[in-house]
């Protein structure tokens, strides 16, 4: 339990509103302090893009898992124990030499929490949400990703109950690597589709 809220008196308008809301929810019996603590703890320490990276690495080394992942992303996540809110239904879309995929939620910020965690601020912000459906190549270039001419590009706008994850291509020069080492190459951005794994990189 982080409990950091117990140690600082609210000062900013956001802190004051948050404390007031928590007070009312507690008084009404609609939430408990330890339940909030538990959720925060999960997202700070367990739920994050390392989960998705493990699934990607498994798909790279295990063709049968890859097929299960592409057939039903939520079931493939559950094999690792990942699942729940904002991940009840997951679709995995696969990059190939001919096709690149990128994910967005233009209306809000839908994102597969159980396997990627809390989305980064840029994913939730107007520039990304407005632009990537309309000018995805310009957006990918801003992320440093220039697709070869002729690559087809698919943008997935998560507008309903289905959440998306990109299965990137296994990079060249990784033949001798273990599944764990491979997972270390898979960044959050690779699974959103704004980056691709590099053999020399280390995932944040």
């Amino acid at each position: 339990m982080s409990g950091s809220h117990h140690h600082r008196r609210p000062q900013t308008p956001q802190e004051l509103r948050t404390a007031a809301l928590e007070t009312v929810l507690i008084e009404r019996g609609l939430v408990s302090t330890d339940a909030i603590d538990a959720v925060v703890d999960r997202f700070e320490n367990e739920i994050g893009p390392r989960n998705g990276a493990r699934m990607v690495a498994r798909a790279w080394v295990d063709p049968a898992y890859r097929e299960r992942l592409l057939a039903d992303g939520a079931a493939a996540a559950a094999e690792f124990g990942y699942g729940g809110m904002e991940g009840e239904q997951i679709r995995c879309v696969e990059n190939t030499p001919e096709m690149h995929n990128v994910v967005v939620c233009t209306l809000c910020s839908c994102y597969p929490w159980p396997i990627l965690g809390i989305p980064p601020v840029w994913y939730k912000s107007p520039p990304y949400r407005s632009r990537v459906v309309r000018e995805p190549r310009a957006v990918l270039a801003e992320f440093g990703l220039e697709l070869p001419d002729g690559t087809e590009l698919r943008v997935w706008d998560s507008s309903a109950d289905l959440r998306y994850i990109v299965l990137p291509m296994r990079p060249e020069g990784t033949d001798g690597m273990s599944e764990d080492e491979l997972a270390g190459l898979v960044t959050r951005d690779c699974m959103i589709g704004v980056a691709v794994p590099r053999a020399g990189a280390v995932a944040a």
Binding site: V39, R42, S109
Partner: protein
Amino acid sequence: MDGAHDLGGKQGFGPIVREQNEPPFHEPWEGRVHGMNLASDVGPAFRWSIERMGAIEYLTTSYYEHWLASMERNGVESGAFTQEELDAAAAGVAAGEPVPVRVDAETVATALRRLSPHDEAGFEAPPPRFSLGDRVTVARRASPGHSRCPAYLRGAPGVIESVHAPRPILDVYETEGGRIVPQAWYTVGFRSTDLWDDPGPAHEVFVDLWETHLEG
């Protein structure tokens, strides 16, 4: 509704600003808001309450400020609590009263169950009107309420890429106090050249839409 949240294809928002090594929560209050939202149930209109914030306020506040505004409004509108309770709590907090502590193992268990794989109820609905490969047109008219159909698709031609098992349409659920209307939904593919008259190479956009959003 035609709100500022409906950002797809809109122009004038500038470059994407990234942050290295971003934490899940930038401030403790963000984590509290996230935790309160996941560990409680204050009403069915979570997203619609964000969308009704006001366009300029929406565009000039952060993600978790949206959540905070949504929980405050949604909770009052659903009757989970009253504005007077909220105001009284705010006054107390401002005067230095600590947030009360409540410990409850069952609430913890419920919250953690939500964050683990779980089976979902199935829904009965009329058979889907459309099949794989069907050409469809997105409904042109904007509704005044919450909608999961982005404005940039209105009136656009697309092709059914997947047919999904029925789910409650969120447009109705959020706008009408949690009313459940299960309906077939689809992943629909669009050519960018059917959406925008922009120069440069084409791409495809895939969007999940309920049957309500589509015409034959």
